[in-house]
């Protein structure tokens, strides 16, 4: 299901790719696909409608970023809007100015409150707090036992007054108990209830008034469908929910409920539950869930990374140097650094859709350590050597090898590669008049490992890259280059 959805999104966006400008019709088509994908991920109908409208407005006729094709731009907008919809940055739990901090967990039956509370307790203890769990679910058979067993398992005290006590009274009494036991965080487990059950909702309101909680967290099952909107609305209206815990995210549900809840209540999702094993709850990262909901996060993070980490100014500067053939080892080093900024090479390659289907990829040595070594070698050179490698003699080479912890052979290899690259630059600049600025730029990109970004069509240049200009292992592509050179 996930694959088919992400594929349908990709194919919709593929149609946009290569277009210089997006027309209303192009966007319309893509928006339809996005709408379907979101609905299938259980995002609420209304939320989807608003969302799609916003994306459409931003996407049509806007000033496109040069580095991205319009298709990618739409993906990026969708991604940004999704992240925004889910709360942007990560949200933390508020602490009371004067302990104890009281946290109430509320939600429907079977959402996972009791399990979540144990995990939350564990998360707090990890940060040197002393939590007290309070068993105020007096309705479900054995709910109190469940919390007691869990508390014992993780060695966190549990306060209960049996199943005959009044939940509000239990909550109230727990505060005194917390003071006595020196607990600084009180986590209250409440019974699951339907949001339309007036009587039980009143009970929660009573509890809220009695204990003045710092946080009221709504526990929501990640598998919840369209109804999440009603649940969230009502709980928020009556109690003023301050945050959300999304549970059972370890399933294959796409978690659209999260989007809905956040959009409806404006409350951030603070934690996510992954599995029934009692481990600390994980803080929530909106961007990661955005990726998950779209089922295509990797392309996005690649785009983001490229945007964040490739310094356009520097790239332009380098282009100028190349064109004027003043390309030095300093620039060479800068080139590697920019590529490495994108992350481990094999990871970067895997982020590109379709890359796993490329033949021969597994044969290419994607060892990042090469980059590290080359960086070290260049760093061991004197400024003069970097500006003009021709001064290099045997003694200098030995010194550099010692300095960088490599061998003379490796230093030679690097110098050869640099020579080759510069040779190539010269060729480009030599043909300067015949070659457009654009193709020179794309050559730089190809060498910088960015060639694959715009899409599959540029893929071969990327695949060639490691064995050609980086690895210098004398593979086939390199020989081909020699032949070209001779022909010239």
């Amino acid at each position: 299901m996930l694959e088919s959805l992400s594929n349908s999104l990709q194919s919709a966006l593929n149609r946009l790719r290569g277009k210089g400008r997006l027309t209303e019709a192009d966007v319309q088509e893509a928006m339809r696909e996005i709408r379907l994908a979101l609905l299938a991920a259980d995002v609420n109908v209304k939320v989807v409608r608003d969302f799609v409208n916003r994306v459409r407005e931003r996407a049509v006729g806007q000033d496109l970023q040069k580095s991205l094709t319009p298709g990618q731009q739409v993906v990026k907008i969708v991604y940004e809007e999704l992240t925004e919809l889910m709360g942007g940055a990560q949200a933390r739990i508020q602490m009371a100015p004067k302990p104890p901090t009281v946290v109430m967990l509320v939600g429907l039956q079977g959402a996972g409150k009791t399990t979540a509370i144990a995990k939350l307790g564990l998360a707090f203890r990890q940060h040197q707090h002393r939590p007290l769990l309070v068993a105020a679910d007096v309705y479900r058979p054995a709910a109190i036992d469940q919390l007691k067993v869990l508390g014992k398992q993780i060695d966190i005290p549990v306060f209960d007054q049996g199943a005959d006590a009044n939940p509000v009274a239990i909550a109230k009494a727990s505060l005194a108990e917390a003071e006595k036991a020196g607990a600084d965080i009180v986590l209250i487990d409440t019974a699951g209830r339907l949001h339309i059950d007036d009587q039980l909702m009143e009970e929660l309101e009573g509890m809220k008034a009695a204990v003045q909680p710092t946080e009221i967290l709504l526990v929501v099952d990640a598998m919840t469908g369209q109804d999440a909107v009603h649940v969230a609305e009502t709980f928020h209206q009556r109690l003023g929910v301050t945050g959300v815990i999304l549970t059972k995210l370890d399933g294959d549900a796409r978690g659209g409920a999260a989007l809905t809840v956040r959009a409806v209540t404006g409350c951030p999702i603070k934690y996510v539950g992954l599995g029934e094993k009692i481990e600390p709850l994980e803080p929530f990262h909106p961007d990661r869930l955005a990726s998950r909901i779209l089922g295509m996060g990797d392309v996005l993070s690649l785009i983001e990374r490229a945007q964040e980490r490739i310094d356009l100014e520097k790239a332009k500067e380098m282009e100028v140097r190349m064109r004027t053939s003043s390309f030095t080892l300093n620039d060479f080093q800068e080139m590697f650094r920019q590529v490495r900024n994108l992350g481990p090479l094999d990871q970067v390659l895997k982020m590109i859709p379709g890359m796993n289907r490329m033949k021969g990829l597994e044969n290419i040595d994607l060892n990042d350590r090469r980059f590290l070594r080359m960086d070290a070698i260049i760093s061991s050179m004197t400024p003069a050597e970097r500006e003009d490698p021709s001064v290099m003699n045997a003694s200098r080479r030995r010194r550099i090898a010692n300095g960088s912890g490599t061998t003379v052979r490796e230093v030679n290899q690097l110098l050869n590669q640099f020579e080759q690259t510069r040779e190539m630059m010269k060729r480009f600049t030599g043909m300067g008049k015949r070659m457009s600025r654009r193709s020179a730029m794309s050559a730089l990109k190809a060498m910088g490992g960015l060639g694959g970004m715009p899409g599959l069509k540029d893929m071969p240049s990327l695949a060639d890259m490691p064995s050609n200009s980086v690895a210098g292992s004398g593979g086939e592509p390199r020989q081909r280059q020699h032949r070209k050179k001779k022909r010239k």
């Binding site: 299901m1 036992d145 294959d252 796409r254």
Partner: protein
């Protein structure tokens, strides 16, 4: 209170939400494309999923044309028939054995309402004069056994149990032996909640089934998948995977007394061909009812 009224009452909120929405769409309008589009959105908002909603709307459109309906106010009749046809894929009756115990295995994801459903099922059959035995097969979750015991006490039936962490297949084995020895009519086995993408847990379920089949050929006679009525499109995956692993024979849909409409049953019935057998309409022991496609369709579609 008759079955029909109970359905209507229990589904009140579902009814209000979907039927009122539809009624407000239909009021005084002629049939046109925008009307059908709004209908589609209402169905999607009821968790039916895009494909099923489209198909439902298509079928209604065709049926309306056939019956020469022009006013939207007459559409609910058509919708009830169409929805019933889509839901009616065979008997919703339980496959009860005349000789020897009937083994009912209850499965589902975490928090769907398995244990509660079992309590209610036990009450239902107990009230019919059957001898019921429960097996505490959820040996994983903290206090799940105690929860089933509490239900056993409340309803007045015995519970076969091991300690927490025991092999659930062994519990089922013992329950079958006990059931045969005590002349029990129906054995209902609880299982731990599991998400369908956890393959090792699904394998455990397959083992339970295998052990049961070996001890009592032909069993389990019923495998009921309990589905939370608020579940969205993931319910389809749940039905698919559980069907593959333990050959689910029927669906129990719970928590329909909220605002959720349980629309996910439509694609499940339609695509997976598993009939809905029970429907949970509230927290009382009486609130689990045998499913009736007509009553459900009526309650959902008619304002």
């Amino acid at each position: 209170m008759g079955l029909f009224e109970r359905f209507r009452k229990g589904l009140q909120k579902s009814r209000n939400a979907l039927a009122d929405k539809l009624a407000s769409i239909f009021r005084g309008r002629k049939l046109d494309e925008s009307l059908f589009e709004e209908m589609e959105e209402a169905f999607i908002a009821a968790d039916m999923g895009v494909e099923t909603a489209l198909e439902l709307v298509d079928r209604v459109r065709v049926a309306a044309r056939k019956r020469r309906i022009e006013n939207a106010d007459d559409l609910p009749d058509v919708m009830v028939d169409v929805m019933r046809d889509m839901l009616d894929i065979g008997s919703s009756d339980m496959n009860l054995q005349s000789e020897g115990p009937t083994l009912v295995l209850v499965v589902g994801v975490n928090g769907a309402g398995k244990t509660t459903t079992i309590g209610k099922l036990a009450h239902y059959y107990q009230a019919q004069g059957k001898k019921v035995l429960l097996a505490a097969g959820d040996t994983f979750r903290a206090a799940a056994i105690e929860q089933l015991l509490a239900w056993g006490n409340r309803v007045g039936v015995d519970v076969v149990r091991h300690s927490q962490g025991a092999d659930p297949a062994a519990v089922v084995y013992d329950a079958i032996a006990a059931g045969k020895a005590r002349g029990i009519d129906i054995i209902i086995c609880d299982t731990a909640g599991r998400l369908q993408n956890k393959s090792h847990l699904m394998a455990e379920l397959a083992k339970i089934r295998k052990v049961a089949a070996k001890e009592m050929p032909g069993s389990p006679h019923e495998v009921l998948l309990v589905l939370d009525g608020t579940t969205g499109q993931n319910g389809l995956m749940q039905a698919k995977v559980f069907k593959e692993v333990v050959d689910v024979t029927g669906i129990v849909i719970t928590k329909l007394d909220g605002t959720a409409k349980g629309g996910i049953v439509l694609p499940i019935v339609h695509e997976q061909g598993i009939p809905v057998k029970w429907i949970g309409l509230g927290e009382g022991v009486e609130d689990l009812q045998p499913f009736d496609a007509t009553a459900y369709a009526e309650a959902v579609c008619r304002p």
